[in-house]
Symmetry: C2
């Protein structure tokens, strides 16, 4: 494992960020370029980010593979390191001019979640960067994230879509009754990292929509920020591939248990 | 009316922003300093922002008055210009480390909304600044906001609290059925400015919680960004004071009408 690759990944993110911010809020950002391998619309801003990162990596790394949300799998001379990336997580926000979207990149030396050794997620609009090193901690702007739960009123960020609204409606109602605060932000990797740094207390996405490229980096960051937790039972036996995921991330076991109990209650009464 | 005061206001915001960002994400930011004149908790981060702005204005302006969310009304030698400010809009986000909060400042030469001649709202975490000059347009980062509706799927940002959830639950359900996207961000002045710049299509806050200091600046910015609209009927006859407001802001008359019709339908069936 070449340590230097982590710095190269971070540099590639800053390189892409500069190019992305140049077109952010311009009409061209949202131009549709057709559908990607997952069936989602690829917009010009996604392509700019992806191309910037790949160009940068091709110049900086001898051999590697890429698994990207837009381009799918591409091999550049070797299977590993495998760079798993979502060039823009929160594409819809990015295309609209809403400053809530990220670049998410993970590095793996194998085909399972456990083989991920590094993750980086950058909040493009603010420049904040989250990094996680397997067994070596998680960082926000190069400062170690230490267990620091600030909330006396838990903040729970959720993913909302039409098909899961009956469930989430009940979830929101119960959350508000408990005195929790609700947010809906629209960039899952960013929201998982916000659980990691303690700025929010939980993130819930049960749309069965998340791809490995959406969460590979942020899950490592979450794991490496001590005390944060996610639904491993649901999330078990993860292999890289086309599978879709749900996630409940929380900054304590007790909050995770409480959320899972609410979701189970809703499932039963649904 | 001294034109230069607008530049001073913007400078005071950048001055405060620097001091606020120094404590953002530090434990001290959320320390409670008791309750302000409106009964809300004043946190250390609110105080730092307010003190920075007032200090700056005292050095830069001969005479003026301030109406601030935390400190209430203060006269420094003259009734006008009246500086109406919310030193941190989105205090809860700011105190938690969620990068979604703003400084909001308006300048008035009279006691009604119509007497506001300038508004500035700064997204603290990104540094984006919105400005509006009465009858002279609205700007984002000094670039004129021109009518540019990007959305084919409307994005509607809402304020959520326990007491209005029965209504908002129905509103969310109907919105999702229409194919609209929902966001919950937690900084009303920022969300109103996001309607102004077209990054979201509507903002709805019917908690009957908004103070004049929350919305004075962003309402002018919205008004000055052509084509954007809000519920004047609800919002009529506004005078500076202790009154609380609801707002529905939208980027077209037709979307505003559609939202108001949904809210009316909910009110009737409620």
């Amino acid at each position: 494992m070449d340590k230097n690759i982590f710095d190269i990944i971070v540099d590639s993110i800053y390189f892409a960020r500069k190019r992305v911010m140049r077109i952010f809020r311009k009409d061209i950002a949202s131009r549709s370029l057709g559908r990607n391998i997952s069936g989602d619309i690829t917009r010009y801003i996604d392509m700019v980010s992806e191309k910037s990162i790949i160009d940068f990596l091709k110049k900086s790394l001898k051999s590697f593979s890429i698994l990207s949300e837009e381009a799918g799998f591409r091999k550049y001379g070797a299977d590993y390191p495998l760079i798993i990336m979502d060039p823009i997580d929160g594409s819809f926000n990015a295309s609209r001019g809403i400053p809530l979207f990220s670049i998410s990149i993970a590095v793996a030396y194998g085909d399972t979640i456990n083989d991920i050794v590094f993750g980086a997620v950058c909040n493009i609009a603010t420049g904040d960067i989250y990094t996680g090193y397997k067994d070596k901690g998680a960082y926000l702007n190069n400062i170690l994230i230490e267990r620091n739960i600030r909330g006396f009123r838990p903040v729970v960020s959720i993913a909302l879509s039409q098909n899961i609204y009956p469930k989430m409606n009940k979830f929101i109602r119960i959350s508000l009754d408990k005195g929790w605060k609700i947010r809906v932000i629209g960039s899952s990797s960013l929201e998982i990292c916000m659980v990691a740094d303690g700025s929010i207390d939980a993130y819930i996405d049960i749309r069965n929509m998340l791809r490995i490229s959406d969460i590979a980096a942020s899950i490592l960051i979450l794991n490496e920020s001590k005390g944060r937790i996610y639904n491993r039972s649901i999330f078990n036996e993860v292999f890289l591939g086309e599978k879709r995921y749900n996630i409940v991330a929380a900054n304590s076991q007790s909050l995770l248990d409480e959320i899972l109990a609410v979701l189970e209650f809703i499932n039963k009464s649904y």
